[in-house]
Amino acid sequence: MTTIVQPVLHDPRLGAAPQSTSDLDLVRIRADFPILAEHINGKPLIYLDNGATSQKPQVVLDAIANYYNHMNANIHRGVHTLSVRATEGHDAARQTVRKFLNAADTREIIFVRGATEAINLVAQTYGRVHVGAGDEVLITAMEHHSNIVPWQILCEEKGAHLKVAPINDRGELMLDEFAKLIGPRTKIVAVTHVSNALGTVVPLRQVIDIAHRSGVPVLVDGAQAVPHFAVDVQALDCDFYAFSGHKVYGPTGIGVLYGKRALLDEMPPYQGGGDMISSVTFAKTTYNDLPFKFEAGTPDIAGAIALGAALEYITGLGMDKIAAHESELLAYATEAVGAIPGIRLIGTAHDRAGVLSFVLDHVHPHDLGTILDREGIAIRTGHHCAQPVMERFGIPATARASFAVYNTKEEVNALVAGIRAAREVFA
């Protein structure tokens, strides 16, 4: 039997990390997240898989319970008090999302299941109207599968072509190449805001300017961006912006599509059903106004309200303070993990957020993930639903630590100790 060198992860001496200069009260913030008190394999949980999903603060859990305890009814239907409460709660959540994205109008905020559904919605409505045989859809080489496959399905159906703008060895979008790929047949650009596998922050203002100069609308996959810094869709001037609630401290099953009103108005509906109509006869149906045209059926009312609570929670902490704290943490982690012998960082873009992706000589990411899990440390290992990115870097998988507002430098120290212990096992 092998002797495994035990990392002393929770020795207070290891906690002697450089003082955070953050303005956030991390002790209080951590206390807001009940799950952070969990022990995993006898060790305090160190949750570094926030890119997959974030943990939820008590206010979000309370919002769900409060909805079902005191508000539950269907929306837009009854005259009774509970239906009014549910409708008002749902409407208020939409208003919260509008403010969070700085959209001009609540009618531009469509509730969906998540970023994946938001992108499929645009592909299947805007895409099906505007993309025809021989046309082109332009994406980038760092997209998540959810911003590749919906466009492949559309292109296959229409006989259109999917074009892919390349990234460089640091994992940055090559803007010159991107610009060259926009042509007269380009009908839409779909691009991530932050790469889930590399952490790269895409220079969206430039991307959108380039596309708009040719009159091409831009959809942004913001799933990995909104938890980390303030997003202003009017300042970006993006045409569509998609994100998932569960990555931004809200529940699973709820997400948002923002779309410019002029575009949403002229798009056909996505799904048919109740709530998306204003009148139905067997001869003809008149569709409801925005945003309800795109919200067929009873929505995830509790989810929307809880997402609103999550967004209020983080805006209450301050998006700029969150961005500053996480940026400092990522820089610290990049240096500390990068200094471990045999580490190769995957994704070294100048501008990164939330994600540290790496491979370790002689230790497969899966083995590392198992060894860290024994120490209570949760990271993601695998291809991160971004297989083309893995191919670009010539690797089958990476290990990925991804950060949230509640993470600390002490936790990064524990990660470093865990990686060093894994090296010993496979030395």
């Binding site: 092998t2 230790v363 899966h366 024994r374 089958p396």
Partner: protein
């Protein structure tokens, strides 16, 4: 040693680590007459198993691919134990091995898994069962490949 790290060293036994670092039969035999590719889409592990069948007997067996320590060691040790075995014996061993790594009680009449018993620790790590069985599933496809008659039906 604490319980949980006992489990960890049960998983990464010395024999497994040794095979993962220096896998046996890690090659593409020129005389292979059947092969199959295995892929675990969840983690990106890939494995190609090559066999040289002599009637019902596995005359030679080898593999190539990339994967974690558990999947490499499992493939390596599988090739060692199967050389010279018949197809039926291989199928029976897979059944037993699968039971071992998923923590099922072994039936009384079982073939001896021998060295493969070092993989018993995998049963405590449900997320790693697929790593341990990738090579075996691939072997099954490689064996069936020749066996399945080409049919229009």
């Amino acid at each position: 040693m604490s319980r949980e790290n006992g489990e960890l060293s049960d998983l990464y036994q010395e024999v497994i680590l040794e095979h993962s670092k220096a896998p046996r039969n890690f090659r593409k035999p020129a005389e292979a007459n059947q092969h199959a590719e295995g892929y675990n889409p969840l983690c990106g592990d890939r494995c190609t198993v090559y066999i040289n069948m002599d009637g019902e007997a596995i005359r030679d067996i080898a593999f190539q691919g990339s994967g974690c320590a558990i999947s490499r060691a499992s493939a390596s040790m599988m090739t060692q134990i199967l050389k010279g075995k018949t197809k039926a014996e291989a199928a029976k061993l897979f059944e037993e091995f699968h039971g071992l790594v998923t923590g099922k009680e072994a039936a009384p009449e079982t073939p001896d898994l021998g060295k493969l018993k070092v993989f018993s620790g995998v049963s405590k790590f449900p997320a790693r069962v697929k790593c341990a069985t990738l090579a075996w599933h691939t072997l099954q496809s490689a064996l069936e490949n020749k066996d399945t008659p080409t049919s229009t039906e």
